[in-house]
C-alpha cells in the first residue's frame, strides 16, 4: 500500500461523519479540540463584552448606564465566564487538540469521554447564558460567598444557575483531566520514556492532576450550598451549627490552585514556543519539570491567603503567608530558564515571540504584586480593593492570555495548513499590550487610593474620576486589539498562503503530521529516540506517512493505537477505539436534565435522569465487550501486543483509578468540612449525638469485606478457567449488606434541617450509599457479560475495574461509619 492509499484507507476508518451533523457524533480529538477552542473563545468574547460594560459603568461617577442589580450580574458573569467557561475549557481544547500529536499517538485515551465532556461544557455554559439573557444571572460575585448567596439574602434562582451550571461544567473539566492524565502516562509513541516526553505534556500532566485534586472541593461546596438553598440543610448558617467560613475554605481550596491550573499550561506553551523562536532547546528541562511539580504542590498550600481578613489566628496567617512567598521561587526558576534559553539561542522577533515578551512584562509585574499581597499587613490594606482586581488580571491575562495568543499564532499553521498573509497581528499585539497596561496599571493606582472592588458607582469628589476614565478608555483599546486578533484569524482562514509541513523548524512530533492534520493523525506511529524527534530526523514525517512505523497497515475498519509502559515507553498493549457515536451528546443531555430538574425544582424528575445516565453508562461500557479471544497480534517493527480487553490494567482501570483520586479528594473535603464544623462552628455541640449502632458499624464493615473477598474470588476463578459467578454473587451480597446498613443509618438520622451536624451525617451517608450502588451496578454488568460470553480467562479487563471500585467503596464506607458513630460511641 502506498502513502496515498494508506491515507485514503485510514481517513475512511477515522473520519467523522460529513457535514454539520458530524459535529454531534464525532469522537475525534482534532475535531473536538477545535470545537472546544472555538466555543471557549466564543465565551471569551462574551466575557470581554461584559468587561467593557463594567468599564463603561465605571468610566464616570454616578453613571446612569447600569443600576446596582444589573452591575452585580455583569461582574459576576464576567468572572464566572472568564474562569470557568473560557480559561479552563481553552486549556482543555488545546490539550485535546495537541496532546496525541505531541505524544506521537492517534487519539486520546477515551474519545467518547472527550465528546461527553465537550457537550457537558456546552450545555452547562448554555444554562448560564440563558440566565443572563433572562436577566436572572448569578449576582453574588464569582466566588459566591454565603450568607450573601444563601436563600435568605439571594432568594431568586440566580445563585442556583451558578451552583448547578458550574457543577455541570466541572464534569467536563474532570473528564478532560482523567483523559489527559491517562493519555500522557500511557498513550505515547513507543520509546517515548519520561525523559523524552515533550515539556508541554509534562505541564499538562501536572495540570490534569491538579484539576483532579483541586476541583472536587468546589463541587462539594456547590452541592452543599445548593442543598442548603433547596432543602434547608444549614451547612453555612451559624445559628444552626453551620459556618459561612466553610464555604470560603472549600472555594479557595479550589480557587487558588485554579490560578496555577490556568497558568501552568500557559507556561507549557511558553516552554514549547520560546525555544523554537530562539532556535535552540529549552535550558534546564529537568529543572523546569521540577519547578512545575513544585508550583503545583505549593499552590495547594496557599488557599487561606484569600482569607487573611477573616480573623484567622496569627499563626495560621503566617503559615499561608510563608507558603505564598515561597511559591515565587519555582515561578522564578521557570522565568530564569526562559531568559537563559533566550540568552543561549538566536531569538527571532516573530509574532508568537511578541506575545511571549508581552507575557514576561505583564506576568512578572503580576507576580511581584502577588508577593506584596502575600504579606499579611499589606493584604489587610489592599483587601477587596481595585488593587486586587488589577493584580489578578496581571496574573491571569499576563500568565494566560498572552501565552495563549502566542500559542494560537504558533499552532495556527498546524491547524489550517496556511501561513499568515496579512500583518494585522503585530498591530493588534501593540493595542492589546498598551490597552491592558493602561487599564490595569490605573486600576492598581485607584485601588491604592481606596476604591473598593465591585462597587457600581462612586462620588465625583473621591479623586478617582480621571484614573477610572483612563482605565476605561484603555480597556476599549484592549478590546479593539483583541477584536483585531479575531479579524486576523478570520482573514487567515479565508486568505493565506500554503504552509510547508513544519514552518517553524520545530522538533516536536505534532509537526510530523500533515497540516491540517488528518483524522487518524499519524499513518504509522514513530519509535521515539530523543526529546525532539524531528530535529535530527527531518525525513521522519515522510517515513511515517509511508507506514514505516508501528501500526502502519490498517486492520479492517479498526481505529487502532498502542499504549506504552509509563516510565520506559516500551509498547504495552493494543487499543481499538469505538467509532463515531451520538451516545456522548445524548448522555450529556440526560445529565443536563438532572441539573435542570434540580434548578426548576422538578425533583421527581431527577432520579429518572440519574437512572438514564446509569443506563447510558452501561450501554457505553457494553459496546467495548469482545465476543471472542483475540490474543497478541503483530503491530509492526516485529512487536506482538495483546488487546486492551485482555490485560489486567486496561484503559478503563487507569481511568477509574484517576477518577477515584478525584472522588477521594471530594470525600476528604467532606470529612474536612465535618471536622471544621465540629471544631470551629459556633453552635456546636449539637443538641444530641447520634446514638452509636454496632449493627450499622459491624454490618456495613462485614458486608464491605465480603464484597472485597467476593470480587477477588471471581477474578481468581476466571483466571483459572473456573466460574466467576459465585464470586460475583458473593461480592453482590456483601455490597447489599453494606447498602442495607447505610440505609438503616440514614433512617435513624434526625431531620437534617435542624442542625449542620445532622445535615453533614446525611451527606456522608448518602455519599456512601452512592458508592455502594456503583459497584452493585458493575457487578450486575459483569454477571450479564458472563452470561453473554463476554468474559473469559483472557478477556478479563472488567473484573479488576470492579475490584477497584469495591475496594474504594469498602474504604469509604468503613471510614464513614466510623466518623458517624464515633461521637455517639465516645459520648
Amino acid at each position: 500500500m502506498n502513502a496515498l492509499g494508506r491515507h485514503r484507507r485510514l481517513q475512511a476508518i477515522w473520519a467523522s461523519a460529513p457535514g454539520w451533523k458530524g459535529w454531534f457524533s464525532t469522537v475525534n480529538h482534532t475535531d473536538l479540540g477545535r470545537m472546544f477552542l472555538v466555543t471557549s473563545f466564543f465565551f471569551f468574547l462574551i466575557g470581554g463584552v461584559l468587561a467593557m460594560l463594567i468599564r463603561a459603568q465605571l468610566a464616570t461617577p454616578h453613571s446612569a448606564f447600569a443600576g446596582p442589580e444589573l452591575y452585580s450580574q455583569l461582574f459576576t458573569m464576567h468572572g464566572t465566564i472568564m474562569m470557568f467557561l473560557f480559561a479552563i475549557p481553552a486549556i482543555e481544547g488545546m490539550a485535546i487538540y495537541l496532546l496525541p500529536k505531541l505524544l506521537g499517538t492517534r487519539d486520546l485515551a477515551y474519545p467518547r469521554l472527550t465528546a461527553y465532556g465537550f457537550w457537558c461544557y456546552v450545555f452547562g455554559g448554555a444554562m448560564l447564558l440563558v440566565s443572563m439573557l433572562l436577566g436572572i444571572a448569578p449576582d453574588g460575585g464569582w466566588f459566591m460567598y454565603p450568607p450573601l448567596t444563601g436563600a435568605a439574602y439571594s432568594p431568586g434562582i440566580n445563585t442556583d444557575f451558578w451552583l448547578l451550571g458550574i457543577t455541570f461544567v466541572e464534569i467536563s473539566a474532570i473528564s478532560a483531566a482523567v483523559e489527559i492524565t491517562v493519555s500522557v502516562l500511557r498513550y505515547r509513541a513507543p520509546g517515548m520514556s519520561l525523559d523524552r516526553m515533550p515539556i508541554l505534556a509534562w505541564y499538562l500532566l501536572v495540570t490534569a492532576l491538579m484539576i483532579l485534586t483541586g476541583f472536587p472541593p468546589l463541587i462539594l461546596g456547590s452541592v452543599l450550598l445548593e442543598l442548603e438553598r433547596a432543602f434547608g440543610l444549614p451547612f453555612f448558617q451559624a445559628d444552626l451549627g453551620g459556618d459561612s467560613l466553610l464555604w470560603q475554605h472549600l472555594f479557595w481550596l479550589f480557587g487558588h490552585p485554579e490560578v496555577y491550573i490556568i497558568f501552568l499550561p500557559a507556561a507549557g506553551v511558553i516552554s514549547t514556543v520560546l525555544p523554537v523562536m530562539a532556535r535552540t532547546t529549552l535550558l534546564g528541562h529537568g529543572w523546569v519539570v521540577a519547578a512545575a511539580v513544585a508550583l503545583a504542590f505549593l499552590s495547594f498550600g496557599l488557599w487561606v491567603h484569600h482569607m487573611f481578613a477573616t480573623g484567622i489566628p496569627h499563626m495560621g496567617l503566617a503559615f499561608f503567608s510563608a507558603a505564598s512567598t515561597l511559591v515565587a521561587v519555582p515561578t522564578a526558576v521557570q522565568v530564569f530558564a526562559w531568559i537563559g534559553t533566550l540568552w543561549k539561542g538566536r531569538p527571532q522577533l516573530l509574532l508568537p515571540m511578541l506575545h511571549i515578551l508581552g507575557f514576561f512584562a505583564t506576568f512578572v509585574i503580576g507576580g511581584l504584586t502577588g508577593v506584596m499581597v502575600a504579606i499579611v499587613p499589606f493584604d489587610w490594606q489592599a483587601h477587596d480593593t481595585a488593587f486586587i482586581t488589577a493584580h489578578l488580571h496581571y496574573v491571569l491575562f499576563g500568565g494566560f492570555v498572552f501565552p495563549i495568543l502566542a500559542g494560537l499564532y504558533y499552532w495556527l499553521p498546524h491547524g489550517t495548513g496556511r501561513l499568515r498573509f496579512f500583518r494585522i497581528g503585530e498591530f493588534a499585539f501593540a493595542l492589546v499590550f498598551i490597552g491592558f497596561h493602561g487599564t490595569f496599571l490605573a486600576m492598581h493606582w485607584v485601588g491604592l487610593l481606596g476604591q473598593r472592588r465591585r462597587i457600581w458607582t462612586y462620588e465625583a469628589d473621591a479623586g478617582w474620576t480621571t484614573i477610572n476614565l483612563v482605565s476605561s478608555i484603555s480597556s476599549f483599546l484592549l478590546a479593539i486589539g483583541l477584536a483585531m486578533v479575531l479579524l486576523d484569524v478570520i482573514l487567515h482562514l479565508r486568505a493565506a498562503r500554503r504552509s510547508p509541513r513544519n514552518p517553524w523548524r520545530a522538533g516536536t512530533l505534532e509537526w510530523a503530521t500533515m497540516t491540517p492534520p488528518p483524522a487518524y493523525t499519524f499513518a504509522s506511529l514513530p519509535q521515539v529516540t530523543s526529546r525532539e524527534p524531528l530535529s535530527g530526523d527531518p525525513g521522519l514525517a515522510v517515513r511515517l506517512a509511508q507506514g514505516q512505523g508501528y501500526l502502519g497497515e490498517p486492520r479492517g475498519d479498526q481505529r487502532e493505537t498502542l499504549t506504552v509502559e509509563t516510565a520506559s515507553g516500551a509498547p504495552d498493549y493494543r487499543v481499538v477505539y469505538p467509532g463515531n457515536t451520538r451516545l456522548p451528546i445524548v448522555m450529556a443531555a440526560v445529565t443536563g436534565l438532572f441539573f435542570l430538574a434540580i434548578l426548576l425544582k422538578i425533583y421527581w424528575l431527577a432520579p429518572f435522569a440519574l437512572a438514564g445516565v446509569a443506563a447510558l453508562g452501561l450501554r457505553w461500557a457494553w459496546s467495548l465487550g469482545q465476543h471472542r479471544d483475540i490474543g497478541p497480534v503483530a503491530v509492526g517493527q516485529g512487536a506482538m501486543l495483546p488487546h486492551a480487553a485482555e490485560v489486567d490494567r486496561s484503559p478503563g482501570w487507569w481511568g477509574s483509578l484517576f477518577l477515584l483520586v478525584a472522588d477521594a479528594v471530594l470525600f476528604g473535603s467532606l470529612v474536612f468540612g465535618y471536622a471544621f464544623l465540629f471544631t470551629i462552628a459556633p453552635a456546636w455541640p449539637p443538641p444530641a449525638w447520634l446514638p452509636a449502632s454496632m449493627v450499622d458499624l459491624l454490618g456495613g464493615t462485614a458486608g464491605a469485606l465480603v464484597a472485597m473477598l467476593g470480587i477477588r474470588l471471581a477474578t481468581t476463578a476466571n483466571r483459572r478457567r473456573g466460574a466467576p459467578l459465585p464470586g460475583l454473587v458473593l461480592a453482590g451480597t456483601g455490597t447489599l449488606v453494606t447498602l442495607a446498613s447505610l440505609v438503616h443509618l440514614l433512617l435513624r438520622l434526625p431531620p437534617a434541617t435542624t442542625h449542620a451536624y445532622h445535615a453533614t451525617l446525611l451527606v456522608l451517608g448518602s455519599y456512601a450509599v452512592i458508592h455502594a450502588l456503583i459497584p452493585l451496578l458493575m457487578l450486575g454488568f459483569l454477571g450479564a457479560q458472563h452470561r453473554r460470553g463476554y468474559l473469559s480467562p483472557n478477556r478479563r479487563a472488567g473484573l479488576p475495574i470492579a475490584g477497584l471500585w469495591i475496594d474504594y467503596m469498602a474504604t469509604t464506607v468503613v471510614l464513614t461509619l466510623l466518623l458517624v458513630q464515633l461521637p455517639g460511641l465516645v459520648a
Binding site: A290, P313, A567, I680
Partner: protein, 107 residues
C-alpha cells in the same frame, strides 16, 4: 508509575505535613491547649514544635531514601527531578511551618 511516585513523594509529604500541622493548630486552639503549660512552655507550642520536627524528619528521610540504591531512580532524568522535588518538599516544610515557633498560636 514508580518513577511518577518518586517525583511526587517529596512535595506530597510536605502537603500532608502542612495540612496536619494547620489542623492540629485549629483543633488544639479549640480545646484550649494554649492555656496549659508543660515544662514552662505551652502544651500547644510543644505539640506544634514536635509536629514540625517530625515533618522535617519525614521530608529529610524521603530525600535520604531517594539517594539510596534501593529507592533511587535508575533513569538520570527522573533521579534529577525527584531529588529536586524532594528538596522542595524539605525546604517548604522548614519555611512554611517555621511560624510554629515564632507566632502567637490562637490569637
Amino acid at each position: 508509575m514508580t518513577d511518577i511516585v518518586r517525583i511526587l513523594i517529596g512535595p506530597l509529604v510536605w502537603l500532608a505535613a502542612f495540612s496536619a500541622v494547620y489542623a492540629l493548630q485549629g483543633v488544639a486552639c479549640a480545646h484550649g491547649w494554649s492555656e496549659h503549660e508543660v515544662a514552662g512552655a505551652s502544651r500547644l507550642r510543644l505539640a506544634l514544635s514536635l509536629a514540625w520536627m517530625i515533618a522535617i524528619s519525614l521530608g529529610g528521610s524521603v530525600l535520604a531514601m531517594l539517594h539510596t540504591p534501593r529507592f533511587r531512580a535508575s533513569d538520570p532524568f527522573v533521579r534529577q527531578v525527584s531529588l529536586a522535588t524532594a528538596w522542595v518538599g524539605l525546604a517548604a516544610t522548614f519555611w512554611t511551618l517555621f511560624p510554629v515557633v515564632a507566632m502567637s498560636a490562637c490569637r
